[in-house]
Symmetry: C2
């Protein structure tokens, strides 16, 4: 990577730097920043890579204490939210620590006696793990934000509750159908992935939370729609007055589109940045063209890049990408509870 950094940025002094690296393999702040940006550029499953070079990198490798990390996370959230004009940011913390939560802003999933789940079924295991660590549980609504669990290099895990002024959420309403607003749906403004390892030049940074802004399909075509998530399509269809007796009437497809309209409308009204699948796939075309111009193969996993709504209307549908990982990159961690 050190070599790549010098070549791509046309920085001189490559040989001197390489021999220094051989003695003391510590990334400079600039190298780390470039490494994080290239890690994003190399993320095969990410459709939002066009602005990879604009990623803001907070070098906090000297921070290793859970409480200090937590203070820095609050600062990260403030800087990233930026009053709704969301900026892509990554904070890189010291070695040996990790965040248990897969994202900083996640809703609890409470299993009921009858086996059903209140909240987000995807977060049931995380919720139970946090409860074992001492979390008393939230109010019991469908949208209780979970505390953040930070594991220090001693193996001890501490829980922290984010202050309300950095956990902005958007209430979901529909421009023409008030009954959809009455469902009381909401979603966090910021997607902050907090459980992936940033891997640069053989260094593995296990605590390096990063955020972009949402693509509406993530919220409206998966998180709120999937049967094994919030499963809201039947309720949305009812709000729209659709006949849900036969799948062949395409009530699911109609409800899905209107839920996507609602999420885009709500974020726009709230002044919170969000992409739509038509725009982001066209931006990805530009990214692919720029990569080709730079002489690099465009890596991508087609099955993750196509949107789950009307995919064949987007330019990504008819493309092929090289599905191959290279470093720098972001690598998944095994959950703390397994």
């Amino acid at each position: 990577f050190i070599r790549q950094y010098h070549v791509e940025t046309r920085r001189p002094g490559i040989e001197t730097r390489l021999s220094a690296w051989a003695r003391d393999p510590v990334l400079t702040e600039e190298e780390l920043a470039y490494g994080a940006r290239v890690a994003w550029r190399n993320s095969t499953r990410c459709i939002g890579r066009l602005p990879w070079a604009a990623l803001q990198v907070r070098d906090r490798r000297y921070v290793t204490q859970p409480d200090e990390i937590f203070t820095e996370l609050i600062e990260h959230l403030r800087m990233a939210y930026a009053g709704g004009k969301i900026r892509p940011v990554i904070s890189v913390f010291g070695p040996g620590v990790r965040i248990v939560n897969d994202q900083l802003l996640r809703y609890a999933g409470y299993v009921q006696a009858d086996g059903t789940v209140i909240g987000d079924p995807q977060n049931v295991a995380l919720t139970q793990y946090l409860q074992k660590l001492g979390w008393a549980g939230g109010k019991g609504t469908s949208f209780d934000l979970l505390p953040v669990a930070i594991q220090s290099d001693t193996g001890r895990t501490e829980l922290f509750t984010l202050p309300q002024d950095v956990t902005q959420e958007v209430l979901i309403t529909h421009p023409d159908c008030p009954a959809i607003g009455d469902l009381g749906l909401r979603w966090p403004a910021l997607p902050v992935i907090s459980n992936m390892t940033l891997s640069v030049a053989g260094q593995h940074m296990t605590c390096a939370p990063f955020n972009g802004w949402y693509l509406q399909t993530e919220i409206a075509a998966r998180n709120l729609a999937d049967e094994h998530r919030y499963n809201m399509l039947p309720a949305v269809a009812q709000a729209l007055g659709l006949d849900t007796s036969r799948r062949r009437s395409l009530w699911q497809d109609r409800a899905l589109v209107e839920l996507n309209v609602a999420v885009l409308h709500s974020f726009d009204q709230a002044g919170v940045r969000i992409s739509d699948h038509h725009a982001v796939t066209r931006q990805f075309e530009r990214f692919a063209a720029e990569e080709a111009r730079a002489g690099r193969r465009v890596r991508g996993r087609w099955s993750w890049l196509i949107p789950p709504l009307s995919p064949a209307t987007t330019p990504v549908w008819s493309r092929q990408y090289l599905d191959q990982e290279i470093t720098p990159n972001f690598v998944r961690q095994t959950p703390a509870w397994t």
Copy 2:
């Protein structure tokens, strides 16, 4: 394959048959029928494989003359259409012949002086090839059915026009929006793929047209919708009175759903069998379960199996399949004009 046939159908006499085959490798009628069914079962890109064992196989290997083939094609279309209760049928013709058309029922694509296309842009090359062979062209509408070109073992190609009583088409109307009906859209009732080679036991049958029934997404989410096909989403959106000035209003997504509703409605009204993507993907789950029960790996190409409309609402979205071809199978031919 001969061995597989005996094992799967529990037919005795396998050793006798194998030594006979070594001397004279000609498939019996039963072997051919089973081979064609297994070729369907092995079609990784086909979501409609559940009824593979019910494929009706017409053994016409003794037919090799274009005019006789044409007569048999008419018979095939009649038997397959069955008054709307479409049945999956394959006709297997003699060696050395092929059909130039990729499907028996295709619309012409006429290139205009300004470069635009009247009809189906996908069939421009086929249309020009047929014109070179002597076709005078049709009326010049967007939906002129093309003649069928059959190439004999001498290399000569003859043109034939199918009689109207075997080229059923369905006029597309919408249950609630008459303006969509006013667009004058239509589509053939039957998908008859006519340019794939049936490969069984090392035998390559180049003329073996087969049909199933349509899945509505093929017509409504691709053929009529794609920008490089009939590109009807803007017109459908206008018929629906949608604001098409910003993609972010999701007018394409809304028009797409309503076009799918219209196609299902129209086929249902006309009494012509058609699948919807919710039902066919659930049938495919049953197919996969049956295959697993029979001890066979489920082969599939995920990118072809997911529907282009609301794919994440179907069970196929979260599955993985072995993307690997085995014989018996259907293999693509290079077009006659290349």
